[in-house]
Chain length 346, copies 2
DNA sequence: AGATTGTGCGCAACCGTTTGCGCCTTGGCA
DNA sequence: TGCCAAGGCGCAAACGGTTGCGCACAATCT
């Protein structure tokens, strides 16, 4: 019924030995006699002794805790990344503290500060949509804090990162539309300051160029990240007098928003307009019509980023951290929103 | 470029004063002269001093950290709960460590142990599907660890909890089907050992009874939690010769799975069979036909659970913890999967 | 028998911060 | 001039665990 946990000192007192002996007995140190070890272990078991990892962290200056700064957990992609992070971290004996920036620069800075205060052994970061300034990250690097960016990295920092092949995914998506015979392919772009947005846009442009299309700037609309913004962007596009026969959206919610708006206008997908999203969120296979999209391996990204971070942590005292930038392959998942045949469902 | 952070001792040494003075200066203790305070603050600022919260935790036996044990982050409902937890916790100056049990009993036990070792100030728990035994939770209660269950609680424990009105939600869902003129209403139930499953089944049964329906046991199938299990259950149901005209599923994935299977059989929804899910996941409004479902306030649940937990933590040294069991209202969201009129879309 | 070796354990410092207590200095007052 | 009260600061212990070192004792060797 006591509210405090058993300590090594409690065991020492009960057994009339010193705390050091208890400590060594518990870790099977050769200096301790078998009899003492047995007694200590039995009592520890009986009292349900749990080592106080706070004390351990203080002593060792190692918390065995990783900090994660992420825009939003509720996005399916990010939660799969977290799943990957947790799996690798837990297997390696690390805990994970997650901080959501909610896409806000200020909360991101606060989160980084809080994690610094918690003395995490390393950080995994995907930057917020609002973030323009990167002094808080530069600060981490200066302090020698192990750091890996995932999915959304920032340019100009000496930090490791793991991203997906946004350019290639976008390229193949656009290529797919072209090969389906689409002639007027629009792009709904993500927020301008995110690298994922610009990479995807570049992939789109490159594909158009490679296949001899003339780039029409008014077919590219900076939309945002949400369903609502996707609908709104689609509305703008149609109002501008443009009538594309295909849409490549920078992410799935944008694509879904566009799809919804087109439905309200009686424009049918894929007959009149084909649509491709990005991420392969589970929802994309369930909507009508099922959405062609670019799959990004979120779980693998989380795993890889964490492996890289742990490696940095282990090597911390050695020579230079050896910066790594990894790119994971994306995969085009073709569904009915771009099929040129008649829709299958109904 | 140093890899370690500035401490109070570094400041003390630089200023040729004692660490105690630095400590007091930083917290504006009246014993310290204004001149000293100023000097300390300026240096602290300049060196970017961050209090070591590990040391603080050890000293105060308070980590200002909350532990969350949750089946899966990737479920939308749970991630909204986490968003609520994080918001309240961060506002109160607490960090959050999240452990996923992945619906496994063993990982749940491990997580609880790990959180105990981390000396979290309290825990928020939603139990795993596999969990039958509750000794690990009883253990927490015996130790006086503040504890609040959310969504999935366990019976027979003296612990606070916040759940949704599963019974009422299920009742109203079933009632809605009845009022739509459905005569043969089947139920796809969740895992048997989860309270949410039994509560929802009870609500279903009660509604049938209240409206004078005869309970047909073979219209109730224990399915699981996933889309695949929903499809499988629907298949079983049809193979058994039953042909219900309505389905109340214990959660959205089950409902979606059932819907998918019905589509493959050429059975149309809602004309031939009406379907209702549970949770109002965002996907439900986007599928074809949009799914009627029971909305549960996940974000509010997270907030409330955390408030209750923090209250328990603050009051910890006072008298008895005052057990609370809260129930949040659910709301029936009517969409086209149960509309008796002709479908709107297409 | 004396020296050497090994065994089993305790002492004390340390990680970074807080805090009760006591010390020294200064100034005001009688 | 002597006394007392503040004011301003440092000492040291404490939180729980780890670890280098040294100590006492017994066994072994020469």
């Amino acid at each position: 019924m006591k509210s405090s946990q058993i300590t090594i000192k409690d065991i020492a007192r009960a057994l009339k030995i010193s705390p050091s002996t208890v400590s060594r007995a518990l870790k099977d140190h050769p200096d301790i006699s078998p009899a003492t070890k047995l007694a200590v272990r039995e009592l520890a078991q009986e009292l349900d002794y749990q080592p106080n990892s706070v004390a351990l962290s203080l002593r060792k200056s190692r918390t065995h805790t990783l900090g994660v700064v992420i825009p939003q957990i509720v996005h399916h992609f990010f939660s799969t990344v977290i799943a990957g992070i947790e799996d690798v971290a837990n297997d390696a004996g690390y805990q994970v503290i997650i901080c959501q920036s909610n896409e806000s620069y200020e909360r991101e800075v606060q989160s980084v500060q809080a994690l610094l205060g918690s003395r995490v052994d390393g950080m995994l970061v995907s930057v917020a949509q609002d973030t323009q300034e990167v002094r808080h990250f530069q600060n981490l690097i200066n302090k020698g804090m192990p750091l890996v960016f995932f999915d959304r990295m920032v340019e100009g920092l000496e930090a490791s990162s793991v991203v997906v092949d946004d350019f290639g995914g976008a390229y193949r998506a656009t290529e797919h539309l072209i090969r389906q015979g689409r002639k007027k392919i629009a792009h709904l772009a993500g927020p301008e300051n995110l690298m994922i947005s610009s990479s995807r846009q570049k992939g789109y442009r490159q594909a158009l160029e490679d296949f001899g299309f003339r780039m029409q700037p008014d077919l590219v609309i900076t939309a945002g990240l949400t369903i609502e913004e996707g609908s709104e962007a689609m509305r703008k596009l149609l109002n501008s007098g443009q009538r594309p026969d295909a849409i490549f959206a920078a992410n799935d919610p944008l694509a879904i928003g566009a799809l919804k708006f087109l439905k309200t206008q009686g424009i049918s997908v894929p007959e009149d307009v084909a649509i491709i999203g990005f991420s392969d969120e589970p929802i994309t296979s369930l909507i009508d019509p099922p959405l062609t999209t670019v799959a990004q391996p979120g779980y693998e990204m989380g795993k890889l980023a964490t492996h890289m971070l742990l490696q940095q942590i282990e090597l911390k005292d050695e020579e230079e951290p050896e910066l790594q930038r990894k790119e994971l392959r994306t995969e085009l998942v073709i569904r009915q929103s771009t099929s040129s045949e008649k829709k299958l469902a109904s």
